[in-house]
Each structure stands twice: as C-alpha cells, then as structure tokens.
Amino acid sequence: MQLCTPTSVDLSNSEATSSSGFMGTSRISTNHKYGISSCDAGSTFMERGVKNKQDFMDLDISTREKLAHVRDCKTGSSGIPVKLVTNLFNLDFPQDWQLYQYHVTYLPDLASRRLRIALLYSHSKLSDKAKAFDGAMLFLSQKLEEKVTELSSETQRGETVKMTITLKRELPSSSPICIQVFNIIFRKILKKLSMYQIGRNFYNPSEPMEIPQHKLSLWPGFAISVSYFESKLLFGADVSYKVLRNETVLEFMTALCHRTGLSCFTQTCEKQLIGLIVLTRYNNRTYRIDDIDWSVRPTHTFQKRDGTEITYVDYYKQQYDIIISDLNQPILVSLLKKKRNDDSGAWLAHLIPELCFLTGLTEQATSDFQLMKAVAEKTRLTPLGRQQRLARLVDNLQRNTNARFELETWGLHFGSQISLTGRVVPSEKILMQDHICQPVSAADWSKDIRTCKSLSAQSLNTWLILCSDRTEYVANSFLNCLRKVGDSMGFNVDYPKIIKVQENPAAFVRAVQHHVDPDVQLVMCILPSNQKTYYDSIKKYLTLDCPVPSQCVLARTLNKQGMMMSIATKIAMQMTCKLGGELWAVEIPLKSLMVVGIDVCKDALSKDVMVVGCVASVNPGITRWFSRCILQRTTTDVADCLKVFMTGALNKWYKYNHDLPARIIVYRAGVGDGQLKTLIEYEVPQLLISVAESSSNARLSVIVVRKKCMPRFFTEMNRTVQNPPLGTIVDSEATRHKWYDFYLISQVAGRGTVSPTYYNVIYDDNSLKPDHMQRLTFKLCHLYYNWPGLISVPAPCQYAHKLTFLVAQSIHKEPSLELANFLFYL
C-alpha cells in the first residue's frame, strides 16, 4: 500500500476548506451542477497533499545501506568538538505507544465525505477519543475493544446508517503514516494557538510588521514539522515570515495606468498580471489570473448556479455585504481546474479586481534591491531572537490548555530542546600566485589578498567600452581605476576603444553588432538604467549570435563616491575570470579529482522549460571550469542532458590533462521535494554510463545539496546563543538514519542567523572517509571567484546556479559552446 494517500492528508484541512463553501462565487459555467464551489479549493489542497506526500516519499528512500563504507558509521571525527543547541524538540510518548488505523464503511453508502465525517464525529462511542478521520480512514490512539465495531447512527431525517469500523493496522510511532498523523495533530494544535495557517506554516496575524512604502505586511510565524531523525521522532520549528501585499489588483492597475498612459495600458497590464495568483478577500481563496475581460463591467450580469441572472454588484452585496465602489473596472478571468471524475468541462471564475489582493512578490519586486533590503531588515533575527521566539512557542504549546489537552488525548508529551555535538574543521589557506595566505576571517579575505597576484590572468588588449554621452566621464575615471587595481592583481588592462551610443537598448545592440570583430576579447557596457532590456539584449547577442565575454555595469554603480576602488577590484576579478584566468586556489589532497556542480531552474518566459546548468572542473587544482547550459522539457530529460554534458567535460579534461580523472564528485542542487527517487533511478545511472562510455575508470560520488532545511544550530555561550563558527559540521542526531548526510556551516550571517547547508551523499564509489568527504566539501566552498570568501555551497554549485539564472532570466537559449571554457556568466 502507498505510504499515504492524498485523502489522508486532507484530514488536516477538511475542516478549513469548507468555509463559505455554499456561498459560491461568481462562476460562469457551461454546466450547472451542485458542489462546484468546492472544486478549486479541493484541487489546491490536493496539491498540498501531493507535496506532503513527496516529502515522505523522499524520507522512505534508503541510500545508506548500499554504501558499505558508511553502513556502520557515517560520522567524522576530525576537528574541534562544539556543543550546539538546535531548533528540534523531543516528543515523548509511552514506550508501547501505537496508532490504530481503521477503515470505516457506511451502509447505505454515503457519497458525501462531510456527511460521513459528521455521522462518525457525532457518535457517542468516539466522542471523547482523540481521532483523525478523513471520511474513510480513521486513526485512533486507543484501540477499540473489537477488531470490527458496528455502530449505527441516524441522519437528522431519520435514516439509519450503519458504520462498520474495521481495524486495518497497528502502527509504531516510527511508521511514515504515523509521522503524517503527528503532523496533522500539530497543525490542529497550532490552530488552537490562534495561529493562521498558510500552506504548511503558521502565522500570527495579530502582530504584523508593515513596510508601507512597498505596500507589504509581514506576518511572523513558524514552519513546523514532525519527523523521524537519526534515532527518534522530533518536532522542529523555525521562524518564518509571510509576506502579504496590501494592494488590490485594482490599485495595481490604476497605478500602472498612471505610469504607462492609456495607449499601451491594456497590453502592459495583461503582461504584468496574467499568471499572477490573487487572493479574494471575501472567501480567502486564491486564483490564478488567466485573462482580463475588458468588455465586462461590475454592472453587467452573469448567470448564477440556479440559472438566475444577477449583476456582480448585486451579487457581492447580497452574498458578502460588499459594495463594489468602482463600476468601470474590468473583470479578471480565472480558469478553474477540473474536479476529479468530472468531465463537465472547464470552469471560469470571474473576479472583481477591487476584491482581489495580489500575493507573493513579483520578479520585479524581488529584483528591487531597496524592497528586498527592507524585507530583510524586518525579518532578520539574531540567534538569540530566534531562540526566544522558539521558547515562546514552546511555552505556548505547554501552557495553552486546549493545546495541552489535544496532546494529552493522543498520549503525547512535549519534551526538551535537543542539543548535540558538532565539529569545527580547520580553516583553509588561500593559495595565490606567489603567496600563501591564511585569512583573518574565512568569511572575506579581500583585504588579505589585496597585494597578492592572481594565479593566472590573460592580458586584456583588445576590448570595447560602450557608454553614452552622459556616462563618458565616469567611464574614463573608472578605466583608470581598473588599470590600477588590475596592475596590482597581475591583470594587464590596455586602453579600450570607447564607443559612444544613444541611451536606448537598440542603440547598444547595434553598436555591439557593428564594432565586435573576432579579435575583441571583451565588451564592457556602461548601462544608463537598470531597465532589463538593456542587459538582456546585450547578453543575448554576446552569448548566442556573437560569443564574446561581456561585462555590464550600471552607470549608477560607478557614480558611488569613495567606492570606486573596491568596485573596480570586484570588476577586475570578474573580467579576469571571464577571460579564462584563475584567481586563487585551496589545497586539494586528492589528485586527479573532477568536481561537478549541477543546478536546475525554470525558464522565466516559458515555465515548462527547465534550464539545466552544469559546471565541471577541468584541472586537478580545481581552478578552471567547463560550463554548459542545456534546456529541457521534463525532469526525466535532465538525466539525458547530463550524459551529453559529462561526455563533453571528460573530453575537456582529457584535452588538458592527457588522462581521465580518477574520481568524479557531483554536487547536485535544485532538487525538489520528492525528486530523490528520480535522481537515484535516472540521473545516477546516466552519470555512470557516461563515465563508462568515455572508457574511464573514474569512481563517482553524487551529493544532493540543499540550502533550505529545517534544522538550525546555535552555540551557547555566556547565557546567550550565537551562530556556530565557520566550518561547523553536524553529522549526528539531526541527520536521517537512512541517509549518508551531514550539515555544514560555510557562510556568515552578518546580523542574522546562519542556515546550515544540507548534504546528502546518495551515491559514493569513491568511498572517501566521511571526514574527507566533509572537508573536501568545505574546501570547495572557498572557490567561488565572484566572492573572496566562503560561500554557502560548493563553488561548482554556485557557478551552475549563476549560469542557469542568466539563461533563465535573460537568454532563454543555450549559450554558445565557444564560451564554455570561460566563467562568462559571472
């Protein structure tokens, strides 16, 4: 039997979805049938159910048992032990605690789930028992006396219904179904604490934080989960914020109309709005905007389910006591998903812009530095602040009588916060051309290497600078700086040809087309504004049509007073890399090791296209890279393009080293919930085949990298808590028993709380000791040339991420292979 059916997940939500169920909304339908109003809500929760299911699917996959070298012990031992507190808590219950799963049938059979639940809930036999029921499956923490219990109940119209409750299974607390039921119980409990559930998280709407200049509200809250970790069931909670927008679609449209003017308003508006998710405030549902009907007004009529005609204005007044104030607004159209087993065709929901709130942040918003900074400032929490929030939640859980009652009826007790021992691995030395440097802080060694020469740098002789009249002056002063810092880095920069262009994207592209010839090594563009078309059109041309490394800089950036030297240094480093240079290295004890980074994301224009970025090191020092980006239609296709990529990378390695690598370690990022199985069944075999077909004997390891994970770790010092030191590794207790996994802290979180990065070794022929695997991973976090310091993931992952981002956002096609040997996407 499957682990958990979507219906069992419905348990948690069956009570909430139904609110205002019969109120209906303004539906235009081709077929009038009862029960339609719940269909879209149903599908929403189905999706949530599926997501949940996928999590559990991942957890059930056992990879460690196939890895002989870590079967008995997957923990390392090097480094200095450090005591850590976590955001995980014990859940205590009696030793013999079990969950009883029953199946309930009705005679006569009842089609309505609601009615089935109502009848069972109102039966006295079960009324004082802790129970979870979805209309078919019933979970109890106490066993009923009989294996089969017959109950009979009467509907209010006097019809007798017989309910047969049959024991199906007795489940130990570690069983996946049981864990799912625990999660449902905790969701119920958090609701009792007046927390508001959105998705799988809980928020406190009575303590919102406002960012009025961006029309945002932030609700503080928690992401919670109950899960089986290394040796026991633990409750995890992490602080989370929900970003809500205090802006209706109508307000958005009005503001947009002001900006664009009437001529191109409808077009721009459709471009901006279609595809967005909106929240209707009267019934708390979310809809995707699929179209805007400019010909319909709120004063027009539509046909209700019962066939009568009513205007939108009257409908909302009658149904929700809402007065629509703007009678000129158009109507939004949302295509509703079909209900299961319902072939009655598509349903359209007509929505009033005034009553729809925008949700989530648009791409435009997330690229707005000011906005993101404002959000970060509001949401940043120190480790101590985070620990205090957790303590308050736990206190609430233990004090609230309703919450405690619920826990107690299930026989559960909320236990102590978990602390564990991690290890801090030694810091790394940074190897420069003629100097070995031990950084003061591994977080940022830019100062330590200021006077050191890069490992290697091509001389820049033939190149172009494109700028406008307005920016010519700043371009010249920047050029002087660049030459100066280049000199100290060992990067020789000759004078470029400076081309003046008009301030519009087409003029820039025309100038590029006109002036770039095969000798040009690099094109630098000083952009007058951050309008995306400048960047996109230049990058498109210079990666697809005429592959030449390019460097775009905003004029505004160069205008920052007193920052010129550090900006020039950063740009000089990027340019060095784009020309194929190497900045620094760390000591790699394994000879003949190739490391590979893979990341995946969706294309910004066509959401069904997957952009796969792959980056492989091509020298033993891990300072030179082969980068390729491939576009695919489905996730299983990802595996196929890996083969194409690996063959290319191995050829490249052979070309440079006249041999094939002895070891290959693949870091795979961008893995979604529930994709672990696909990785193991498709991607790993494809990687193995491509290695074998290159007649290489290389041994392969595949590691899944996740930046998001539930656990957080703090060190406790002088009665306060702090972020753990860089290089802290956790490979016990908070890990999963079935996996060869560990957490590594390789990034600094200035004033906030650091998130550990989670590594799961799903395949490992290399049989490195856990210690060595962990240390190697830490070393690789030092090698990202866009930042002179440690980063949160191994460099190949970050390169792959940067590459996919550029392609998904700006280029939308595979960049020319001529650029594959350069880090052209930095």
């Binding site: 089609a111 009615l115 919102p208 029309k215 405030r281 709130f357």
Partner: protein, 385 residues
C-alpha cells in the same frame, strides 16, 4: 443522494425527504437564514446570539454584516461546534481589509434552558428550528430563560408547521429528534402566551411558500418575531446581575478592525501612500517612446487619469480642486495633508489633519512643519516602464 449531500455539505441536515415532491428554491434552510440576515440588515443589532447554532452555518452568514460587534453561538453538541467552529476565525482578507467595527465571535457549549449571564443584554437572539427539539420539561423552562432572564430586544423563533406535512409523502415528524411539530394555531397560542407573560409583542410570518392549490396550509416553516415592549434591553441591569457562567466557551475569536490602532494605522498608511504615489506619478514628466527625449511639461492630471479608478461626485471633485495642491521643491514631492483629507476614502478614515498626522507620522516622511507628506519625485520603479 444529491439532495442529502447538498444539504449536509452546506452544514445542514435538511428535513425534506428523498422522494420529495416539493422542492424549495432556494432550499428551505437557506430561506430561513436569509430571513434572519434580512432582519439583521433591517434592524442593525450590535449583539446577536444564535441558540442551537449547530455547525455555525448561520453565524458564518451573519459575520459579514458590518453592524454586528458580538456574535455568539450556543449548542449542546460540542463536537459539532468544534468541528467547524474554527472556520469562523478571521480570514487573510479580514486582516488586509479590516472591518470598521470590532467583532468578537464566541461559541459556547451548553443548553438553552440554562442561564448564563454572558448572554445578557443582546439585541437579537435567534432560535432557528430549535424548540421542536426540546422535551416538555425543557420547553416549559425555555421561555423563562430566554424571555425572562436573557430578555433581549428581539427574539426570532422558527419551527415546522405541521399543517404542511401532509404535502410530504408518508411523514409524521420531519426529524426523528423532533419532540413535536405544531400547527399554526398551536405555535401562535404558545407564542402569544409567552409574549404576553414576558411583555413582548409578537408578529407571525414564515418561509417556504406552499404550492399552488394548497395555500391554506401556510408556510412550511413558521416564524415568530418577538419584540420587547419598551424597546431596548436595559444594559444597565446587566452589570448588577450576578455573574453566572455555566456555559463552556469552546471557541472565541476577535476580528481586526479600524477601531484597533494597529489596523487603523495600517489602513491609513496604505491609503495615504497610495494616494501620494498616484499624485506623484501623474506629476512626473513623461518619457517619449520614440527617441528617448524628455517631455518636461507635466501632464494635466485630468488627461492622464485612467479609464477607471474612483469616480467622484461633483461635490467631492470641487472639494479636491479647492484643497491645497501638491508641489515640488527640487527633487522632493510634497502633498499637503489637507489635500489628502479632501479625498473621500481618506476623509472617511480621518476626521482632521491632526488625526492623519499622528496616524502616519511613524511610517511616512513628513515635511518639517508636519503639514505635508514628502516623497522622492523620482523612484527606482519609474525606470521599469
């Protein structure tokens, strides 16, 4: 089966049998709820209690009414209250667009023939399809508690009209839990007696029109509306009464509203930001599409106003025109608070300039004398278009 599901899906066990000849449209239970809703709209009670609220469907319908500030449901079936009770909690939209007035919803587990002082001083108490579930002892105590003790300004009681029953095939009682079903005469006799005894006046009506040809049987559901003689419940006595808490509070929730400072500020700051932004944008010179030249004459705000947006009456227009105009100093844009107050939406929120100033001072930059909102004339996002 459709009929069963539908009625239950909507939270109500409808008594119309399966092989029904008579179908009500909209269904009878909804007609009853609509009846109560209309009554609430007409009389605008502040405090409303529904006795025998079951799964709280009626409360759900009433909570959208802006006049209600206290909404209470009482039922003896605790599981039913718990089952869907928490769906009465505020929705996300209620936080984003708060009500004008506070609203507290409480669900009590208890019997309608027990006295609980927390139900004193109500404007309206509804007993929809309740009394026919009471046995003779409880029915005898019911008037004494509801009319005598709780003594609200208005009481609505609905109950089946048994004269209608012959129109249903083979039904004696419409529900197996019904202890009785009354004819119009029986109900009215009881009601008049109770009204007389506790100094109420009563008026009879109903929902569920009989089919053509059977008009003489009357409404399917008969309803009595009781009004207390001498008007409003005397709230002053409430405090003097000894507190008597016999009901168990199962669920309680309060809604965000403009009466709460936090939400008032949130709404005000949003409205002000929006208005300032729209004034700012219409003040901006517009970029010509063709050759990147700048058109430096500010556009007439009238001409660039969108095809939709708030429509002002002549009076409102005049008021806006006559208020101090926004102006620029350097790259700063100023909107006088007096100007903002002229817009109906903001005027509704703030009585005067001082109120507006104190509401937005923490969140929005003001000019040095505090008489105007200040914004940068140009904004990051302007470049996007």
């Amino acid at each position: 089966v459709e009929e069963i599901c539908n009625s239950v899906v909507d939270g109500n066990f409808e008594e119309v049998p399966r092989e029904t000849v008579i179908k009500f449209k909209p269904p009878l239970y909804r007609q009853r709820y609509q009846f109560v809703k209309n009554l609430v709209e007409q009389h605008e009670p502040k405090k409303v209690a529904d006795l025998g609220c079951g799964d709280t469907s009626l409360l759900r319908l009433l909570k959208v009414n802006p006049c209600i500030e206290f909404l209470v449901g009482v039922d003896i079936n605790e599981d039913k209250l718990r089952w869907r009770g928490d769906t009465l909690a505020p929705l996300m939209g209620d936080y984003l667009k708060p009500r004008d007035l506070n609203l507290t919803i409480t669900l009590y587990h208890g019997s309608v023939v027990e006295r609980d002082s927390r139900l004193l001083g109500f404007d309206l108490i509804t007993c929809i399809e309740l009394i026919e579930h009471l046995d003779s002892g409880d029915l005898a105590r019911f008037p004494e508690v509801v009319f005598g003790y709780l003594s609200p300004s208005m009481i609505v009681i609905s109950t089946p009209n048994s004269e209608f029953n012959p129109l249903f095939p083979s039904v004696t009682l419409r529900d197996s839990d019904h202890k009785f079903e009354w004819t119009r005469m029986e109900f009215q006799t009881w009601a008049l007696y109770v009204a007389n005894r506790y100094d109420y006046s009563v008026e009879f009506t109903g929902v569920g029109e009989p089919p053509a040809g059977a008009e003489n049987v009357g409404y399917c559901t008969q309803i009595g509306i009781f009004r207390k003689n001498g008007g409003k419940a005397m709230e002053s006595c409430v405090s003097e009464q000894h507190d008597q808490h016999v009901y168990k509070a199962v669920f309680t929730t309060s809604y965000p509203s403009l009466q709460q400072e936090r939400f008032f500020k949130l709404v005000l700051v949003n409205e002000v930001s929006q208005q300032v932004e729209s004034l700012r944008v219409s003040h901006l010179p517009r970029q010509k599409k063709q050759d990147g030249e700048w058109d430096d004459t500010p556009k007439d705000s009238q001409a660039s106003s969108p095809c939709f947006g708030p429509v002002f009456t002549e009076v409102e227009k005049a008021k806006i025109e006559n208020s101090p105009k926004p102006f620029c100093v350097g790259d700063k844009f100023f909107v006088p608070l007096q100007r903002l107050l002229a817009y109906p939406k903001l005027n509704r929120l703030c009585a005067n300039e001082e109120m507006m100033r104190s509401g937005i001072a923490d969140s929005i930059p003001l000019s040095s004398d505090g008489s105007a909102v200040v914004a940068d004339l140009r904004d990051y996002s302007d470049e996007q278009f």
